[in-house]
Symmetry: C2
Subunit: 390 residues, 2 copies
Amino acid sequence: MIQPSLSPDLKGRWESMQAAMKKQGTNGCLLTIDVNLYYMTGRVFNGYFYLPIEGDPWFFVKRPQSFKGNNVVFLHKPEQLAELFSVNNIEMPKKLLLEADELSYNMYMRIFNALQPEEVENATLTIHKLREIKRPYEIEQLRYSALKHAETYHHIPECYKPGMTDIELQAEIELQMRKNGSYGIFHTFGMNMEIFMGSILVGDNALEPSPYDFALGGKGISAAMPIGANGTPIREGNTIMVDMAGNYTPYTTDMTRVYAVGKISNEAYHAHQVSRDIEQQIMHIAKPGTACADLYNLSLEIATKEGLGNCFMGHHQQAKFVGHGIGIQINELPILTPRSHEKLKTNMVFALEPKFVIPGVGAVGIENSFLVTPTGVEKLTHFEEDIIQL
Amino acid sequence: MIQPSLSPDLKGRWESMQAAMKKQGTNGCLLTIDVNLYYMTGRVFNGYFYLPIEGDPWFFVKRPQSFKGNNVVFLHKPEQLAELFSVNNIEMPKKLLLEADELSYNMYMRIFNALQPEEVENATLTIHKLREIKRPYEIEQLRYSALKHAETYHHIPECYKPGMTDIELQAEIELQMRKNGSYGIFHTFGMNMEIFMGSILVGDNALEPSPYDFALGGKGISAAMPIGANGTPIREGNTIMVDMAGNYTPYTTDMTRVYAVGKISNEAYHAHQVSRDIEQQIMHIAKPGTACADLYNLSLEIATKEGLGNCFMGHHQQAKFVGHGIGIQINELPILTPRSHEKLKTNMVFALEPKFVIPGVGAVGIENSFLVTPTGVEKLTHFEEDIIQL
């Protein structure tokens, strides 16, 4: 990729974490989950990042053995941590932050037993709250992903050939993505949450409920991953909803567009327009201080007023959110749900995806990624928003 | 895919788990991790599979709401489990199996507090031992994946164009894989273990150590996932090691082949031949009862005798295994390491991957997937094993 003009400012991240720790009354934070390591160190390694309440962090590394830098200590297993803390004169933390929503029970207990803190707080929650507010370098990464994301979508009409199925079209889009610099891998947060490079929904496959906590469903090509394209042939009168990942940096943008072959029903055109109206109205009111719940409630209110409440965010099964934070993972904080107690803050980045599923036609609506600015929101993903003819 | 001629025989799997529970003295097993749900129920859902020590299992389902079948109970959260056990006259398990290596600490504690068993045993270990011995339906899935795997590799020469980088070649192979029915997604076991559809290593990128527990490394295109192709141009005299996934069913085969443009060094040809010799000798001795450690030790012994001990399974950093079980995940039991206490058993399926990294040339060697038969081993992945000219 183009060399970013800004540095990752890891020190600033450590200081933010230390400020959060002071507020909580915790004395140290031990991280080992890949996305959190990447956030705090700019790389993924096999080992542990330890940040004391004051001073520089420590890197306890199993692999790669070529890891270099200050405060790097090699180890084989977490059971060595107490001794290595002692040898290096690192104060043992009384109140320790551990990734309780991400570490396996057994790994958590191994670390806990090694360091024997008096108390543990949830590092997952703490770091997710930090990661929610993007730093300048991160916003630059997201802007770059957004540009590349739109560039790939420009090539989608070339990917289409009459007679294709959804999965055949998806494979050609995946190639375009990779040619355009997509990393392939797609990081999600949460148990069992997975998807392969994104989702394409054609026609009534959009009605299929899925077990995952994504906005829409789709049957998928296997009961082992029931989400997205399922081999549906692309036919006139159906929509093709393209929600492929913007993973062109480690920071992923989210953008959905709808394509169609020939005419679709008036109801579907109308619903698509309502999605655009919802976005317009949210762009009008969203700014630092706006309640995330209000954004969901406004969306549902508009959908209901337009007679589309029963097909908003799904049909047989309706998702209870209209947007979500994005970053190193596709589903970060904040979440735009009716139950959210969060308010928008400057430098949050979120995806807004008011979508409708119209039986007999398919899914319609748009999704864009937004940066919260001091005075409002700025759209990052710029690309044609009408239904695009193939 | 072609309709399988065998049924998944879920009942047989439940009975095997119940037999293991009797042996352990556990009274019930609650599973919720996707690959384990898939193994026990033939599908992924959001919820819990509960198998009592006797009788039929229960399905506690959050999503999809369209889930149908016997003993299906809908719920919103694990805290409802105790009440739902009571309402349905399910005996509360005193000694419960939970997925301690896979569940997050917080989710484990929520389930534990909901059911309050007197003791907990590790379901991860128990189900991995069950999954290690493949059932007839699973072997059929693996045979099908192996066929498709080889079919894709046939097309690799068409994917290559002079002047390509490793990642450009990989993108074209990924398209071939998808056209040929690859599921895309690639399931691995273990914290932070991830890779995107497989790995291509060209030239000295094979020397780059990686943090992951895969056989070889590679720098990758991002510090957020440092594994595999890194943009190295494909040049004469370098090898191109292709280790892309055989994920054409939910069961994944593993197969590596080496391609080259023009001549490579004699040392590299020799090392490739030694890899084939190791495979031949292992095929000669491997059968039910053979110690997995012996297979590793024999491989290292041959490599060392041929003067290749220092580049066996990596160079700066050497992996301490020469093979691993395969199935729903790419890294199942058994593992062919010097520390293994396991012996081969009939219907295990494993990948054997004696590989060498030659500085200035790249990685050489082969990998194939094998089924353990009552009298020996049977190769599942049939494809040209010489270094293939592009």
